[in-house]
Symmetry: C2
């Protein structure tokens, strides 16, 4: 079964780690969010692509959910000694990927090609494609003005009120090579348990991807990142409110209503099924919290087993 997964960062990465345990990695294409890409120390950093890659490669720092496990921070310490900015702390091992990516991007290679090569060097087995080779920048409107996603997320630690979210460049951006073909050829499209506004939102802001989701004959199955009235992690709540939808699995279904077939929701949210159905989406209550790798595998199996 050919599978395409739209993915953000940590939550998606854990889910995908379960998924490659229950299906052949070679049949999986992951389309990753690049809306929160940033430049730091002159390096091109793609946090979501890297979190997925490191997690699938068994290299991720489990405690943080991103970065490389057992990494050192000597370069960051030296930067601080030089009184240079260090708010986004890059580990020494992590730097290797950023250095390599930055060098190749400057040489004119598209991000998709560099990402594919890194995926091979990390022996992921599956395909990992950025949503676009063009820059799409997720920006957050706060009472103090518009912030880049990382300024909001890392520097301001999600504290400001969220008045709006925009995806700068999305209208001009083309899907990266292979994205549309993969979505149209897939038998199953999975929307990973990621922030629907800042992780999946930028992918959907690339119009041809949204149209391909509506056109594909694949069953499109999502996993809610919201349990009850709160996100499993991160600032999805504030952002969904800013987008004018309810902070619940109902709001997730509303955001995806144009093309979503089924949404796995927490067992405790089973009572939301009728309201989710109003958006044309079938709610499937299950265990969606991934407490350990066994839970990741169970959730992945549940998503693959959905039959409508």
């Amino acid at each position: 079964v050919k599978v395409v997964a739209l993915a953000g960062g940590t939550g998606a990465a854990k889910f995908l780690r379960g998924l490659v345990d229950v299906m052949p990695a070679a049949d999986l294409t992951i389309v990753g969010n690049t809306g929160d890409d940033l430049e730091m120390w002159g390096l091109a950093i793609s946090p979501d692509l890297d979190t997925v890659a490191y997690t699938l490669a068994g290299l991720v720092d489990e405690a943080k959910g991103w970065g490389v496990k057992h990494d050192s921070f000597s370069c960051r310490d030296a930067m601080a000694a030089l009184e240079l900015p260090t708010y986004f702390a890059l580990g020494d091992r992590d730097l290797a990927v950023h250095l390599h990516r930055s060098e190749r991007l400057r040489a004119g290679e598209p991000l998709s090609q560099v990402t594919g090569d890194l995926a091979r060097r990390l022996r992921l087995g599956c395909r990992l494609i950025p949503m676009s080779d063009q820059r799409v920048a997720t920006e957050i409107e706060t009472p103090g003005g518009w912030l880049s996603f990382q300024e909001f997320f890392v520097r301001e630690r999600c504290r400001p009120a969220v008045l709006g979210v925009r995806y700068v460049g999305a209208e001009q951006a083309a899907p990266a090579p292979g994205v549309i073909e993969a979505v149209l050829a897939a038998e199953r499209v999975i929307i990973c348990p990621s922030n629907p506004v800042s992780s999946i939102g930028p992918i959907l802001a690339v119009a041809p991807i949204r149209r391909a989701l509506a056109a594909t004959r694949a069953t499109v199955v999502g996993v809610s990142p919201i349990v009850g009235r709160a996100p499993v992690s991160g600032p999805a709540g504030k952002m969904m409110e800013a987008r004018g939808v309810e902070v619940s699995a109902v709001g997730v279904a509303e955001l995806y209503r144009e093309w979503l077939d089924a949404l796995l929701v927490d067992r405790g949210d089973a009572d939301l099924a009728p309201r989710i159905a109003e958006h044309g989406v079938r709610a499937l209550p299950t265990e969606i919290i991934m407490r350990d790798h066994a839970a990741e595998v169970e959730l992945a199996r549940a998503v693959l087993d959905v039959a409508l």
Copy 2:
């Protein structure tokens, strides 16, 4: 006394560390070689400027003579795991300087400005200026063809025969801002104990610097990097042979004859004084091997004390 020092890497850096102990750092301008600059991992690396800066800042790895002491190599290890090239091993702390320099150079700042700022951040006290803001590339002709300096020095470990040396770009290169003014205003110009062909040679290949040395009223004093018939360290011997001069203090004097007033030579080379005098250079036998910091200081004092 205003002093200008022309400097290569390790030998020069040790000498300069002695020099700032016996004169006010604020009166010292160091003009550094950039002929062996290289790009690695997409970073702009200036080995000689960095060796001088790290040594004066007390950060240098004493055992190697370059790089940062107690540095870690996690990024290099991660590069190797990705099967990326690592022949020029950059330490994690060292990376901070290369990242910062590279970012600012790409933003359009000249190397001299970036180097001056790094010197301030490292609290050197003296001025450190690259010989030129334009690229001058020292290349070594070997039986296998022309190699960049670092290919010859690091990758090939100086093993190939040296058939020739050239300084690509030197004819078009302008001295960095402040170099000519400093040489002309100096009361003493010091040619540090560095490889005369690959460390001082590129500086001299920038014609206005050579003309300023001939024009300055400063006393120009050198320290021989050759003791007897062999360099204190490095491949100076092979390179001097390729340039057609004797591998001895006599050959050093010959290379600098147009503007050198005095040359400090090893006590054991006192018998070379008449032959050095034939080049119009006064030989001053002294202890030129810097076995410890006291010797660095003694040698620096001897250079400042030269009275003709």
